[in-house]
Amino acid sequence: MLEIKNLHVKLEEEDKVILKGVDLKIGPGEVHAIMGPNGSGKSTLSYVLAGREGYEVTEGSAELDGEELLEMEPEERAAAGLFLAFQYPVEIPGVGNMTFLRTAVNAQRKARGEEELSAGDFLKIVREKAKTLKIDADMLKRPVNVGFSGGEKKRNEILQMAMLEPKMCILDETDSGLDVDAMKLVSEGVNALRSAGRSFLVITHYQRLLDHIKPDVVHIMAAGRIIRSGGPELALEVENNGYADLLDGVK
C-alpha cells in the first residue's frame, strides 16, 4: 500500500534536516503506529506525505500503490486515496461544514472520473455516518471547525475520513486534546473503517490510543529515523520505560 524509501527531508526556508532516511512499508489492511519523542519528525512525515508546502525532499521516495506521491499536488494525493487527519484541524470561517464535505467528496469523485453525488444522496450518507460519530445536525451546519471543541474537531476529521473513503489513512496525534470518552468515540470511528483494503498509520505519543486502535506493527521514531520496529508490545515497553532506554540502545 504505502512504501517509503530512504526519505530525507529538510525545511525549505532554513538548513534544518528533519527526516534522515525513513524507511516504512505498510501492507493493505495493516495498521502501523509511529511513536517517538517530541521533535523526532513524526508530524513532518505526515505533512510531507500529504504535500504541505515548506518542506524539501532531498532524497528518497514515497509510493502509494506504486504511484509516486511526492510529485503530486495535495489534492491529487487525496484523490489517489491518501487522507491525513490533522493534529490541529483548521478552522475555516464562512465555509459551512456540509458544503465543505460535499465539495470535497465530489471533487475527489470527479478527479477519479466518477459521477458526483446528488445533494439528496450525499445528505443521506453524511447523516448516517455523522450519527455513529455523534455529530449532530448543528455541527454539520456550522462553519468548518469554528467553535468546535477539541473532541468535536477530531470527530469531524474522522467524519471526513468516513465520507472520503481513502485507502491510506494517516492519523497525526488524533488523541491529543481528547478526554477518555472522546478518544473512545474517535477510536470506534476509526475501527469501523478498518478493512482489508484500507491501511492506517497512527502517529501518537501515548500507548493508550493503541489500546483502542490495535496496531499490527509499532515503530519508534527518533531524530528523523525509525530506530526500532516491533509488535504491539513495543508500545507497552515505551509506556513503562519511556524512550530513554530505546534511545540509549541505539547509541
Binding site: E53, E73, P74, A79, V105, A107
Partner: protein, 423 residues
C-alpha cells in the same frame, strides 16, 4: 476667499453643457447648491478625502465608456420595479408605482410636493459640513431625474430601482429622496449601471421608530465610473441599514454620510467588493455623526483585490458632546490575492463624549495558506479551494442584510461574479 483661476476654469468646463431646470419647487435648493459649488470648486487630489482616489474621471468635462449589459439583480423577488435608462425614468418599462403602497413620484414628473421641499438638497447640505462634498452639490444643482418616496406605514413591497445603460457617453445625475414617517418601513433596492458616468445622491430621512433597508449591487461591468452619495438623518429609535455589493468597473466611490440626532437608533453600512486589474479602484468613504444617546453604528467592509486592483476605505465616526453610551464599530478588511493589489484604509474616530464604546480595525492579508492546504488535502483543487475561501471571506458581510431572501439573492450574485473572476 475667491476660487483660484485654475479651479474656476475646471468648474466652468465641467458645467458647460449642463443646465438646471429653470423653475419648480427645487429652485431654492439648486440655487444654494450652485453657490456652494462656486465657492468650493471641484475636488482634486489635494483634498484630504480625495488623496487615495483621483477624482479626475468624475470631474472632467467629457465622458467616454462602453455600454453595459447586466443581468438584473433581485429578479426573483416580488418588488415594484422602476427602470431608469441612461438616467431617464422609463415608465413603460416600470411597474405601477402604486403597488408599493407608498407615495412615489419621479423627480422629473413631480409638481409642487410640499413634503420633499424641505428635504431635497437639505440633507446633502447638512452632510457637506464639516467635509465639503462639491460633487454632491453639483448633483443637487443639476439632477433632473430620481424618485421621491414618502412612506407612512409598512411598504407593501420593496422598491427596486433598476438602472440600464445604453449610451457609451451618458453622463447621469440621479437624485432620490426617501422620507419615512414615524413607524414606517421600506426596503429600497438598486442595481445596474445608471450611465457611462454617474453621480447619484440618495437622501433618506428616517423618523422615530421607522426602519429603512437599502441593498444594492453595482456591476460587474468593466467600464463603470461612478460616484454615489447617501445622506441620511435618523430620529429616535430609528433603523438604517445599507449594504452594497460591488464588482468590476474602473472607478466606484460610495459615500455614506449619516447623522443620528435621536436616541436609541441603529445605523449600519456594509459592503463587499471584488476588483481585478490595474484599472480597478473602489472607494468607500463613510462619515457617521452621533449627536444623541445610546445609538449604535456599524461599518463593515470586505474587499477582495487582485492583479493590481486598489481598494480604499475612509471611515469616520464622530461622537459629539453629550452623545453618551454611543456604540460605534468599524471594520475594514481586504484580501489581497497578489502582491500588486493594494488596500488603503483611513479609519478615524473623533470623540467628544466620555462614556462611549468605539472600536475600529483594519486588516489586509493574503489567503490563509494553512486553510488552503487543509482544503486541498481533502481533494479540492487549488483554484476551487481559493474560490471557496474568497467566497467565505466576502460572504461574511452578508450577515448585515436582514431579509433572508434578499441576502440569498445577493449571495447568489456573489457566487456568480466570483465564478466570472476565476475564469
Amino acid at each position: 476667499m475667491a476660487l483660484p483661476q485654475v479651479k474656476q476654469d475646471a468648474l466652468a468646463a465641467r458645467l458647460s453643457g449642463l443646465s438646471a431646470p429653470a423653475k419648480g419647487w427645487t429652485q431654492a435648493a439648486r440655487a444654494a447648491a450652485t453657490d456652494r459649488l462656486n465657492a468650493q470648486g471641484l475636488p482634486t487630489r489635494r483634498d484630504e478625502y480625495w488623496r487615495y482616489t483621483d477624482p479626475a474621471q468624475l470631474t472632467r468635462p467629457d465622458v467616454s465608456g462602453a455600454a453595459a449589459v447586466l443581468a438584473p439583480s433581485f429578479a426573483a423577488l416580488d418588488t415594484v420595479k422602476l427602470v431608469f435608462t441612461d438616467g431617464v425614468f422609463d415608465a413603460a418599462a416600470s411597474d405601477d408605482p402604486a403597488a408599493a403602497g407608498v407615495e412615489l413620484l419621479s423627480l422629473a414628473g413631480a409638481a409642487d410636493i410640499h413634503w420633499a421641499q424641505g428635504l431635497y438638497g437639505q440633507l446633502e447640505t447638512r452632510g457637506s459640513s464639516p467635509v465639503e462634498r462639491p460633487l454632491a452639490a453639483l448633483n443637487t444643482a443639476h439632477a433632473r431625474e430620481g424618485v421621491l418616496i414618502r412612506v407612512t406605514g409598512q411598504a407593501a413591497k420593496p422598491v427596486s430601482l433598476i438602472y440600464t445603460q445604453k449610451s457609451a457617453v451618458s453622463d447621469v445625475f440621479l437624485h432620490h429622496v426617501v422620507k419615512l414617517e414615524e413607524g414606517a418601513e421600506i426596503t429600497l433596492l438598486e442595481s445596474g449601471t445608471p450611465g457611462a458616468r454617474f453621480n447619484t445622491v440618495l437622501e433618506v430621512d428616517v423618523a422615530s421608530n421607522a426602519r429603512f433597508h437599502h441593498i444594492r449591487t453595482q456591476g460587474p461591468d468593466a467600464d463603470r465610473r461612478g460616484l454615489t452619495h447617501i445622506f441620511a438623518h435618523m430620529a429616535d429609535n430609528a433603523l438604517f441599514k445599507s449594504f452594497t455589493l460591488t464588482a468590476g468597473g474602473r472607478l466606484t466611490r460610495n459615500e455614506a454620510i449619516l447623522e443620528i440626532t435621536g436616541d436609541d437608533s441603529v445605523a449600519h453600512v456594509a459592503g463587499t467588493v471584488m476588483g481585478e486589474g490595474r484599472d480597478f479602484l473602489q472607494d468607500d468613504t463613510i462619515f457617521i455623526t452621533h449627536a444623541s444617546e445610546r445609538c449604535e453604528s456599524r461599518q463593515v467592509f470586505r474587499k477582495v483585490l487582485k492583479n493590481g486592483a486598489t481598494g480604499v476605505f475612509q471611515g469616520k465616526i464622530l461622537v459629539k458632546q453629550g452623545a453618551q453610551k454611543t456604540d460605534g464599530y468599524q471594520m475594514s478588511q481586504s484580501l489581497l490575492l497578489d502582491e500588486d493589489a493594494q488596500f488603503l484604509a483611513k479609519p478615524e474616530l473623533e470623540i467628544y463624549a466620555d462614556d462611549v464604546k468605539c472600536s475600529h480595525g483594519s486588516t489586509s492579508g493574503a489567503i490563509d495558506e494553512t486553510a488552503l492546504f487543509y482544503l486541498q488535502s481533502r481533494g479540492l483543487p487549488k483554484r476551487t479551494a481559493q474560490a471557496l475561501l474568497v467566497l467565505a471571506f466576502l460572504a461574511g458581510t452578508l450577515e448585515e442584510i436582514e431579509d433572508e431572501a434578499i441576502a440569498a439573492e445577493v449571495h447568489a450574485r456573489l457566487e456568480d461574479w466570483l465564478h466570472g473572476l476565476e475564469d
